[in-house]
């Protein structure tokens, strides 16, 4: 073990001096995570938009109250911030002052129009600089109005068959029920597969685990570099067990992975306000993820002939696993074959484990994901160890 640690310490010194591990292990994932967060964060998750809406209720009816209550429920769920305005002028002032992104205008006569089967309009007035927020506001209104129309149509059909008139009270009662109105924004009662990380944590974790495989590669391909540079012969001629050389490289890979992930967890928490979850659960996920990366990249090193070849193949594998594992976009949510294949990657389990830890879940919530990652780590690790030993015995 002493010799393995000596070799790992020597390699760590070399990696620190050439700075490549720092760039790929810390700088690149940190910068990319931040860029992705800025560019795609709100759009990817629907969060972090800070939707600030106004509502002008000129109708003051059952229908308009029903719509207002839907928006208030959304506010309670932290989906948006709602401000009531007495009239259009006040709302316009707030919009021009940048206090709100858009406002809903419920014109007088809306209720009457709905009750008499005539068309009513919910007007959306948005800030030209906040097109996404305005679009989302329109979507709220469309969902509400389509729910009301569906209810009217159903009742109207029944009424025609019965030869009776539509009961306006019945329409009003339906429109007061958000579920009947077709609003499906509610985020409560999420299942494990639909739990989502917030944007900053998603991209921080995604980039961290994606680049982890490149970082770990520095360690395991070191064996091939020693062979290329002639120093492997000297190591193997020394009075140390051959397994020490392999173990030294594995220890370095593990150390680089742990250092990289730890720095990224801390840095993204401080700089991007990422919320990783219970520290013990995160630590277990990180250790398991690093072990899996060592195992998989060790497998690449055990079959590659040159460090350059290992680098190329390793990069391809890291990118494919990263994409499939949902580090750039949530593959699991796409359904179909991809959603199943994603769980062949440690990346997907890592992200799933973090999702389980979200919403203040205890560290034990990550254990199933940790177990799955460890299965991948042990199976690939044992295989790569066997192949490397056979290779060194030649």
């Amino acid at each position: 073990m002493g010799a393995a640690l000596r070799i790992a310490a020597k390699d760590l010194k070399l990696r620190v001096r050439d700075r490549s591990a720092f760039i790929l292990g810390i700088l690149a994932p940190l910068v990319l995570a931040y860029i992705f967060y800025l560019v795609f964060g709100p759009a990817a998750t629907g969060q972090g938009l800070n939707l600030e809406y106004g509502l002008v209720d000129e109708d003051r009816s059952q229908i308009s109250s029903a719509f207002a209550s839907i928006l208030e429920d959304a506010e309670d769920d932290d989906v948006l911030v709602l401000e009531m305005f007495a009239d259009r002028g006040a709302a316009d002032s707030a919009l021009e002052g940048g206090e709100i992104d858009a406002y809903f205008l419920l014109p007088s006569g809306l209720d009457q129009a709905v009750r008499s089967n005539q068309s009513g309009t919910i007007e959306i007035v948005g800030d030209v600089d906040s097109p996404t927020s305005t679009q989302i506001a329109a979507s709220f209104a469309e969902q509400f109005s389509s729910g009301v129309r569906a209810s009217q149509l159903a009742v109207a059909t029944t009424a025609t068959v019965a030869g009776a008139r539509v009961d306006p009270e019945f329409i009003a009662s339906l429109s007061q029920d958000p579920a009947a109105a077709g609003m499906t924004y509610a985020l409560a009662d999420r299942t494990a597969t639909t739990k989502q990380l917030d944007a900053s944590t998603y991209f921080a974790a995604g980039m961290a685990v994606f680049f982890l495989f490149f970082t770990v590669q520095f360690g395991v391909t070191g064996l091939l570099e020693e062979d290329r540079d002639g120093t492997l012969a000297r190591l193997m001629a020394a009075p140390i067990p051959r397994v020490s050389v392999v173990a030294g490289k594995a220890i370095l890979a593990f150390l680089l992975g742990i250092i990289s992930m730890t720095v990224l967890v801390v840095a993204t928490t401080l700089l991007m306000d990422a919320s990783w979850g219970a520290p013990l659960g995160v630590a277990l996920l990180v250790v398991a993820g690093v072990l899996a990366a060592v195992g998989i990249m060790g497998l690449v090193a055990s079959v590659a002939k040159t460090p350059e070849g290992a680098g190329n193949v390793g990069s391809i594998i890291a990118v494919v696993l990263g994409m499939l594992g949902g580090t750039f976009f949530p593959v699991a949510a796409s359904g179909g074959l991809l959603a199943s294949l994603t769980y062949l990657t440690p990346h997907a389990w890592f992200m799933l484990g973090l999702a389980e830890l979200s919403s203040d879940a205890p560290w034990t919530a990550a254990l199933p994901a940790v177990g799955a990652i460890l299965v991948l780590a042990v199976s690939t690790g044992l295989l790569s160890y066997t192949l490397l030993r056979r290779r060194m015995a030649r």
Binding site: R6, K13, R17, D229, A233, R234, A237, P239, I240, A393
Partner: protein, 302 residues
């Protein structure tokens, strides 16, 4: 014996090296020298046969006896981003050296290889010759009983080459057994007490230079510039034991002998006593190149 697939890289190599002896393994590129020393150092497992150093069998599966061997690989086996001292310390640790013993030995070796003043520089800043010297220094850091040098002067400038050869001579004088592989005949002749000539994985012959030369019937040639009665002198020279032929021409006598240097005084005295006057002498001993050519039918650098 060592085979790689259908290729027999080394076959029937049997060598014994005594303490304080410098043994040369002379052969062209691809002759099997590196394979042989890889087996000696425990890097490769022989398909047949064994290697013993100071009574301990060397194996790829065991670390036993490894610390008795110092390997200087043909390619530079140093870390360019470590300093000279860090390189030495790292390998010293692997050989179990620690504390004050390691400190003082590192200082000693840096002095021996002439890098004491560059000890804190990363080796990527070193010249080619300095790297070669450090490569050797690492091999002898742990004071092995057997130092194995695999073509240590390949690609080295003449000045550094001479420094390396002097180091090997010095180590041999200090009692270290040295196994030196080369395809440079001059180096083998200068350094080695005994030489094995290897070609196509087979040792063609081994012994001292003199033994190898006599084995193939090559003679020393002595050319004397002289005046006087040279015909009579040549006739007298033919009577000396060890002289196989002597001939006279204008102002010159050519003598063939088995060991010219040992009978040279007798040759000079005989010419003088026969009425000749000597103005110059050249002794040409047959070299290992000629022996190699005789044994294999090809030149060393083929």
């Amino acid at each position: 014996m060592k085979r790689f697939g259908d290729l027999t890289a080394v076959d029937g190599v049997s060598l014994t090296i005594a303490q304080g002896e410098t043994f040369g393994l002379l052969g062209p590129n691809g002759a099997g020298k590196t394979t042989t020393i890889s087996m000696i150092c425990g890097l490769l497992a022989p398909d047949q046969g064994s290697v013993t150093v100071t009574g301990q069998e060397i194996s790829t599966k065991s670390t036993k006896g490894r610390s008795e061997i110092g390997l200087v690989p043909q390619d530079l086996a140093i870390y360019p981003d470590l300093t000279g001292e860090e390189n030495l310390r790292f390998f010293g640790h692997l050989y179990g050296m620690t504390g004050g013993a390691l400190d003082s030995r590192v200082d000693e070796v840096l002095d021996v290889i002439g890098l004491a003043d560059r000890r804190d520089d990363q080796t990527k800043e070193y010249s080619g010759g300095m790297k070669r010297r450090l490569n050797i220094g690492i091999g002898l850091l742990h004071e092995p009983q057997l130092l194995v040098l695999d073509e240590p002067t390949v690609g080295v400038d003449p000045q550094s080459r001479n420094a390396i050869l002097e180091s090997v001579e010095s180590l041999s004088r200090e009692g270290m057994a040295v196994l030196y592989t080369t395809h440079y005949m001059e180096e083998a002749e200068r350094l080695c007490d005994r030489v094995a000539i290897i070609d196509e994985g087979v040792v063609q012959a081994q012994g001292t230079r003199r033994e190898l030369v006599s084995m193939v019937g090559e003679k020393d040639r002595v050319a004397m510039s002289a005046s006087g009665n040279l015909v009579e002198a040549a006739q007298a020279l033919r009577g000396i034991e060890g002289v196989t032929d002597a001939s006279a021409s204008d102002h010159r006598i050519d003598v063939l002998a088995t060991d010219a240097s040992s009978i040279l005084p007798q040759l000079l005295a005989t010419v003088t006593s026969s009425g000749g006057s000597i103005t110059g002498v050249e002794v040409e001993e047959p070299n290992l190149e000629a022996v190699f050519l005789h044994l294999t039918g090809k030149a060393l650098r083929d």
